[in-house]
């Protein structure tokens, strides 16, 4: 009985985090982006500096009619948003935020494998949406998503493999237990590759070619309205949470910090995640969209060699210190 309660409680907490953090990041994006452009951003909803803007948006989306195009593959079309969103919820279960037993939804032995595999499924939602919409823009968006997934999954996996080599384990808490501060400069290239590849996989600007609104309307999501559209947007922000959390855990030492009490490791994790999320928003405001060929070029000629070099470096250092 106690076990059931424990599991239920953990899942509930993870679910709450999954619902709250993406909204917090979305609101932060509204505000940070506005101020980076000399604007104020939302000011009315909720009264105080528009804090409830995303709640208002959610209400709006919920009120809208749920339209499925006549020629669309109905079942797949309706399923796609869930496929895009749920993997991030699953990944969140496996990310440890503190050193203690209670600070992770579920310890998975092959953590990195699980996390990266499930994250890859999220992109499948976009592919399904693009194919099922019976719309050329959607199809183009879906194909671009596929091309992007193919190109960027490889450097992401290689960079993660480098950390797993360094730690000698594929378990996420295991990696963090083995973490030393000098891993930071040692794995910095891998961290950059992982973060950039992750951004590309989330289709965040400047890697938002699959949803480039000036070319293909909104890519795979063109035909979506109402709640299903909102779920796709939520998936993007949940993806930011997951990517920043993973980068924190794999490369920035998670709950390790230069100072702080024992029980407060989770504060470090959240702080690092928040800083990375800010960087994600910052990059979106600062850089124009990469062209499709530039996207591919960046992945194959820069990120993959860099990730391979990182693995080589990791191997050399690993052998040298043994």
């Amino acid at each position: 009985m106690n076990d059931v309660l424990d599991v239920a409680l953990r899942l509930l907490v993870v679910f709450a985090v999954f619902l709250v953090l993406p909204l917090v990041i979305g609101q932060t994006e509204h505000k940070v982006m506005a101020h980076m452009q000399g604007r104020l951003g939302p000011m009315y909803a909720g009264g105080f500096h528009g804090w409830a803007q995303l709640v208002a948006d959610g209400v709006k989306f919920a009120q809208k009619e749920d339209v499925v195009p006549k020629d669309a593959d109905r079942r797949v079309f309706q399923l796609a948003p869930a496929v895009a969103l749920l993997p991030y919820l699953l990944v969140l279960v496996a990310i440890p935020i503190g050193p203690s037993e209670g600070a992770v939804g579920q310890v998975v032995d092959a953590g990195i494998f699980f996390v990266l595999a499930v994250m890859g499924v999220g992109v499948l939602g976009s592919l399904m949406a693009g194919w099922a919409s019976a719309n050329k823009f959607s199809l183009l968006g879906g194909l671009r998503t596929a091309a992007q997934l193919l190109a960027y999954e490889l450097p992401m996996l290689l960079a993660a493999a480098s950390v797993a080599m360094a730690a000698g384990t594929v378990s996420l808490p295991g990696i963090l237990n083995a973490f030393e501060w000098w891993w930071l400069p040692w794995q910095i290239v891998g961290a950059l590759v992982f973060f950039v590849a992750g951004l590309a996989e989330l289709q965040r600007p400047p890697f938002d070619m699959p949803v480039a609104d000036s070319e293909i309307i909104f890519g795979a999501y063109t035909e979506y309205t109402g709640l299903r559209f909102a779920l796709f947007l939520l998936a993007e922000y949940a993806g930011i949470v997951v990517l920043c959390g993973l980068t924190t855990v794999l490369f920035l030492g998670g709950w390790h910090g230069p100072f702080g009490a024992d029980g407060l490791g989770w504060v470090w994790t959240l702080l690092k995640t928040a800083v990375l999320a800010f960087v994600v928003i910052w990059l979106r405001v600062s850089y124009p969209r990469l062209r499709e060929d530039q996207l591919q070029k960046l992945a194959w000629t820069t990120l993959v060699p860099l990730a391979l070099a990182q693995i080589a470096l990791t191997g050399i250092v690993k052998v040298a210190i043994q």
């Binding site: 101020h35 980076m36 104020l40 405001v285």
Partner: protein
């Protein structure tokens, strides 16, 4: 040669710097804008000054000023004098749906009967309501601000210069008269002794 990637860093610096600066958003309905002096919002009519000379209506490029008037005879001011006639304003209206805010009417009015007011919130749902009649134009007069102060070291306004000249002349005359009287008195005293 620039370091590769320095452009990327520059882009990030620009956005970060903008974030720390004050935003330019005007929160208009909540906060009234700070309008510059001589703002052209609406035209007010000071009808007490209007002589129905029709100069404004004739100079208006849009023909958006409507004036009606009639003549009245005024009885002679002095006994045996001639009767005078004068114009009485019946209607003065400006159609702000036609007006292009050029300000020529105000410029051309020789009697200072038209003024700019900075009020701008008079949008209507019916275009006919934008024709402001005489009483409404008179109401706008209460919103006309004082003329802005002259720049430092600016030339004196003509009116003040003329008044000062007249006052100086009068003072000179008075002084001369006083001096002449004093001299006359002194002479009289000398003669007595």
């Amino acid at each position: 040669m620039a370091i590769p990637g320095s452009g990327l860093a520059k882009g990030l610096a620009v956005t970060l710097r903008t974030m720390t600066k004050k935003t330019v958003t005007a929160q208009y309905p909540d906060v009234q804008p700070e309008l510059p002096p001589r703002t052209r919002g609406v035209i007010g009519l000071f009808e007490e000054n209007c002589t129905v000379c029709m100069l404004c209506a004739r100079e208006c490029p849009d023909w958006c000023i409507y004036i009606d008037s009639h003549k009245e005879t005024v009885p002679a001011a002095a006994p045996g004098g001639r009767e005078r006639s004068r114009n009485v304003l019946d209607r003065f209206a400006i159609d702000f749906s036609l007006c292009m805010y050029c300000g020529i009417c105000i410029e051309v009015c020789p009697f200072d009967a038209l003024f700019w007011s900075p009020e701008f919130e008079y949008a209507e749902t019916d275009i006919h309501e934008l024709t402001h009649e005489r009483d409404k134009l008179r109401e706008w007069m209460w919103t006309v601000p004082e003329p802005p102060a002259l720049d430092p070291h600016a030339e004196e306004p003509k009116e003040i210069a003329a008044a000062r000249k007249a006052a100086d002349k009068a003072a000179e005359k008075a002084a001369a008269a006083a001096q002449a009287e004093a001299e006359a008195q002194a002479q009289a005293q000398e003669e007595q002794q």
